[in-house]
């Protein structure tokens, strides 16, 4: 029982970072209805920039975080201009295919710049373990959970209480109607992309600082984790993205505790498969999420 609860706590913690990844993915998919396969690699550019700043100047946490976010946003804007804005008149598949190409391009770019492929990353807080009753808490994970929670709450507030948030949601639900009301749809989509890249950058920062390293191959993992958490939660739903991230984190951790690290790798896909069979729209299924899920499977 204690092991189970401990896994639950660990799962929620890593799940909070997954939730951020899924939120970024969901924002982009929501306003554009197009998949961004370069998502993971663009935020990985951020994490490598942070690691480079750390390696070069032994800079502290804030400078590394700022570099990570700035580079993730810059890479995100690059992806948006190339794969989405330039392709806006074409079919959705054109954006998906070109974002796949940019994914490869960004990874090659990082591989050339950093032949070592694995860089060390500064921890957010000093590593230590403390106990609370029968449970163990690692400080770096507590910090991750706290910051991720703060960011999720801030994003929720932005979406509920600001004009920008209102516009993003309107564009997500009915772009045509939003446009008729004078919402500048393309501009809102651009800024949603910027916001999503910053959120993704924050997730990458939290995960890299907890592991104290970044490796090149985690780009794919970041993309798939965000994508799967989004699909589990219900495509297009921000709350669903948070739920999807948490569920994925918990399931992965439980599977790892009981069946080992190899099983963890396939847990995400197993969970996704199960959900798509049982509840095609995702956990927080919305009408249009069901439609979008069906459309996605056709792609």
């Amino acid at each position: 029982m204690v092991t189970f609860l401990q896994s639950l706590i660990d799962g929620v913690t890593i799940g909070s970072a997954y939730a951020l990844l899924a939120l970024g993915f969901t924002l982009i998919f929501g306003v554009l209805r197009r998949l961004n396969l370069a998502y993971g690699s663009s935020i990985l550019v951020g994490a490598f920039a942070g690691a480079a700043v750390f390696a070069q100047w032994k800079a502290g946490g804030w400078a590394v975080a700022a570099a990570t976010l700035a580079a993730a946003v810059a890479a995100g804007v690059y992806v948006e201009r190339l794969c989405f804005w330039a392709m806006r008149k074409g079919a959705a598949i054109a954006s998906m295919v070109s974002s796949f190409a940019v994914w490869m391009q960004l990874e090659e770019f990082l591989a050339l710049l950093f032949p070592g492929r694995t860089l060390s990353f500064p921890p957010l807080v000093e590593r230590s373990v403390f106990e609370l009753g029968p449970f163990q808490f690692r400080t770096e994970y507590v910090a991750m959970l706290a910051i991720a929670t703060l960011l999720v709450v801030a994003l929720e507030w932005t979406m509920r209480a600001t004009r920008f948030g209102l516009a993003v949601r309107a564009v997500t639900e009915h772009p045509e109607a939003a446009r008729a009301m004078g919402v500048p749809v393309a501009r809102i989509a651009f800024w949603a992309f910027v916001l999503a890249s910053a959120i993704g950058g924050a997730a990458a920062y939290l995960m890299a600082s907890a592991e104290e390293q970044v490796t090149l191959h985690s780009g794919m993992q970041l993309t798939f984790t965000g994508l799967i958490a989004m699909m589990i939660g219900g495509i297009g739903s921000l709350r669903g993205a948070v739920a999807g991230g948490l569920v994925l984190g918990v399931v992965e951790t439980l599977v790892q505790a009981h069946f080992g690290a190899t099983a963890r790798e396939i847990a995400a896909f197993g969970l996704l498969f199960l959900l798509l069979v049982l509840r095609p729209g995702g956990l927080l299924a919305q009408d249009f999420a069901v439609r979008e899920a069906a459309a996605l499977r056709r792609v």
Partner: protein, 238 residues
């Protein structure tokens, strides 16, 4: 007030509007009737700035608005109640109204107008914190109208507001249209329900296959013929 002249709007190579000219007089209810696929929605979207015309002009109070961004058109005083309502289903009623006021930045004025909408549509007030997707069809249509009214438009474009609603609700929608008009809003209405439309219209046009084929007051053409042409198109043009 609104003068559309010789508008051509196409989807790729397909011309949906083939040189449409018509006029909406201030203070009146003008109806546009015609069979499915005639181009009624295309005309509404062109006036609202969502579609750009290939050719022609859309003059509103003397200014040419053709090809302008929707925001400019909203600011000029034209608002659209889109076909199929398109309320934002996962946003609350209040958030839908706020979204309607997106081009405005006067917080106090917006709040005041929201209260005016709640006074006009009490059912929306009761449901102000409910997700719009949970409303009935008639309530969603009211919300779509109220959302468009949030910019205090001089001209309200309505694209098939009665479609898919029960007869009693249709009557209510038409009563709202009359009330709005009486209170000073000019209305340009697209309808499938020719019978109801002819009862409220001061003037109407028939659109068939992208061309205006009739313009006149209700009564100038036998209702049976209007209905025939509004549903099926006239034999001549088909």
């Amino acid at each position: 007030m609104l003068e559309v002249s010789d508008i051509v709007t196409s989807y790729g190579k397909i011309e949906a509007l083939k040189g449409v000219s018509l006029e909406v007089e201030p203070g009146k209810i003008t109806c546009l009737l015609g069979p499915n696929g005639a181009g009624k929605t295309t005309l509404m979207m062109t006036v609202a700035g969502i579609l750009k015309p290939r050719r022609g002009s859309v003059r509103f109070e003397g200014r040419d608005l053709a090809g302008q961004a929707p925001r400019r058109i909203v600011e000029a005083g034209i608002a659209l109640v889109p076909e199929n309502r398109l309320v934002f289903p996962n946003m609350t009623v209040a958030e839908n109204l706020a979204a309607g006021a997106f081009t405005r930045s006067d917080g106090a004025g917006i709040a005041e107008d929201m209260e005016r909408m709640y006074a006009r549509f009490p059912r929306l007030k009761e449901r102000s914190t409910q997700a719009a997707g949970t409303l009935s069809g008639g309530e969603q249509q009211m919300l779509a109208v109220a959302r468009a009214l949030m910019v205090r438009p001089k001209l309200l474009l309505m694209d098939e507001p009665s479609v898919g609603l029960a007869p009693l609700v249709v009557e209510e929608i038409f009563r709202i249209i009359r009330d709005l008009n009486r209170d000073g809003t000019t209305i340009f209405l697209v309808e499938q329900n020719a019978h109801m439309a002819l009862q409220v219209a001061h003037h109407f046009y028939l659109l068939e296959l992208g061309k205006v084929t009739f313009s006149g007051a209700p009564g100038q053409l036998a209702e049976a013929e209007v209905i025939q042409r509004a549903y099926l198109g006239s034999k001549k043009t088909q």
